[in-house]
Amino acid sequence: MNRLASHAILAAAAVLVLALLGGEAASPVLYTAENTSTAAHADPATIQKRSPGDADALVPLMDDLLGQTGTLALTIKLRDYESAERDLARYSELSRQFDRLVVTLDVSGTDIGEFQQNNRKNQEALEALLNDTRRFEDLKRLEIEVQDGEQRMAIAYEGEALRQKMREGFSAYAKREPATTRIAEHYDLNTTPYQQSVEHFAEVADAADDWRPATGGTAASPLAIAVTPAEGRYGDTLRIGGRYAGGVPGTRIEVYVDSRAAGAATLDADGTYNHPYRIGRIVAGPHLAYATAGGIYSEVATFEVLTQNTTITLALAEVNRTAVACTGNLTIGDGLPVAGAPVLIRTDDGTLAAAETDENGTYRTEIVLPGGEHTLRAEFHAAGYPLNASESPAETVRVRGEGLSPLPFVAAFAAAAATGWYLRRRRPEEEPVAKAAPVPESPGETPPQVEIAGLPPREAATVLFRALRTRLGIPETKTPRDCARIAPAHAGFFERYERIRYAGETPTDEELRAMEAEALGGGEGAA
């Protein structure tokens, strides 16, 4: 009873443990230091592994970044474009490292995050400066080579546009200096190269200014141009027009914005033209407009595009078990839709899906998600638009997921097949012995049928041993020594067999006959 109780307790405990483990079988990784996320327990070893080295690298990296701005601005100023390219590549690499570090250390909310943003803008500004300076050089060279008046004008316009862009770039670059210097000084960084870079930037922009009087100042043109109003926002329509003194009514006037054709107008009977220009996908800041009528070029008019805030919404609807439809609107402050704008849908694990707004500012896309709860967010990045980026509030959706995966069933089938093969392979080893010594069901007086003719002497001895053991009703698990102890009357037989079996001796024919007689119960020993 006692024994039964202990067995029952053991079996119950085993079943309980197996059930507990089975519950975890779907996600067999019970614990790793990296993914431990309980508030009560955090493995200090992993935190140490991740942060001290990174944190140590952060401040020197900021120093390198500031140093790199000085070098890059200097090489641009010296027009050593090859070195400038190398410096820029190095600067980009350092910036990328810095960005990664800021994310890893999760310090984007601090002044280091502000430094990172300024640094990113500085990098873009210096990259633009390098490209603009190069283009400027090309324009200067072209201006000398080109004799054709029309082309010279085009060069002058482009030069003017570049000059304005560089001026704009410089003022933004200089505006960031106080904040960046303040943060840098907070971390005891050397700000001299950075301040020098601002000076170099100013010199490059000034050099572009010097070029203007030489080319930009065109003689008073009969084709006048004006942009009214002089500034606008996304969706506004500006009027680009003027008077063409001496122009024949009906003349086609081409209007260009930033040296790109923006449309055409026809000269009215009163000698004026008017082209409505709708502000669409164009960057914020100053822009240039000019008009041409045949070979006649107008002067350059400027206008400014101002930025505006945007609002983006996101609504989720289930399409089927795995897909979710994301819809929403992208509008600016007064409800005006933003058409043809790219929208990104970000899911909780960082996966992105792209969509585009239609004429009504509405976007719609379907994304396939794995089963479970997901948080989605729509983002508008405003690249190329005079608009500020925006982000929708996070929306949560529960995806039911696909039905049962066939994977475990296929694996189970493979496992069953493999086990079947394994068991089949094992069986033949045991069978010959069973065949050699057929065991009668009831041990007792009936002599077993044993055929040893033709067998090698040692195998024949084994067959006889098995036959005798069966006849005496001794279990198969007993060795010859055990058998000798259990049936002392046949000890001689069993001891002889033990020597044959373990000592490698070979029985003679006479011995075999004697053993056969004893095994079959006819011998003197059995009596």
Partner: protein, 91 residues
């Protein structure tokens, strides 16, 4: 002899338990506790113990039970391997 054979199965159980504790200890020391790895190492331990206690000329009843246990373990192991292969193929 019979007493020794009886002691053998208890020693085997003790050795196997010790092996499982050692495996768990080192897995925790390595800051990873993976059931699959634990199971495979446990099965290896069971196979070694089974080979060591298996007699040449007799087959005690407990060896037959261990055989069933090993067959179940091999089936589970085959399942894990098959699943891993399918995972790799699907990736």
């Amino acid at each position: 002899m019979i007493r020794m054979a009886g002691a053998k199965k208890y020693s085997a159980a003790a050795v196997l338990a010790a092996w499982l504790i050692i495996v768990a200890f080192f897995m925790v020391l390595n800051r990873t506790l993976d059931l699959e790895v634990f199971f495979v190492l446990a099965l290896i331990g069971l196979l070694v113990v089974a080979v060591l206690i298996d007699g040449a000329f007799s087959r005690p009843r407990y060896m037959r039970y261990i055989g069933y246990l090993i067959a179940a373990g091999v089936a589970l192991f085959a399942y894990i391997v098959a699943e891993k292969i399918l995972e790799i193929l699907a990736a």
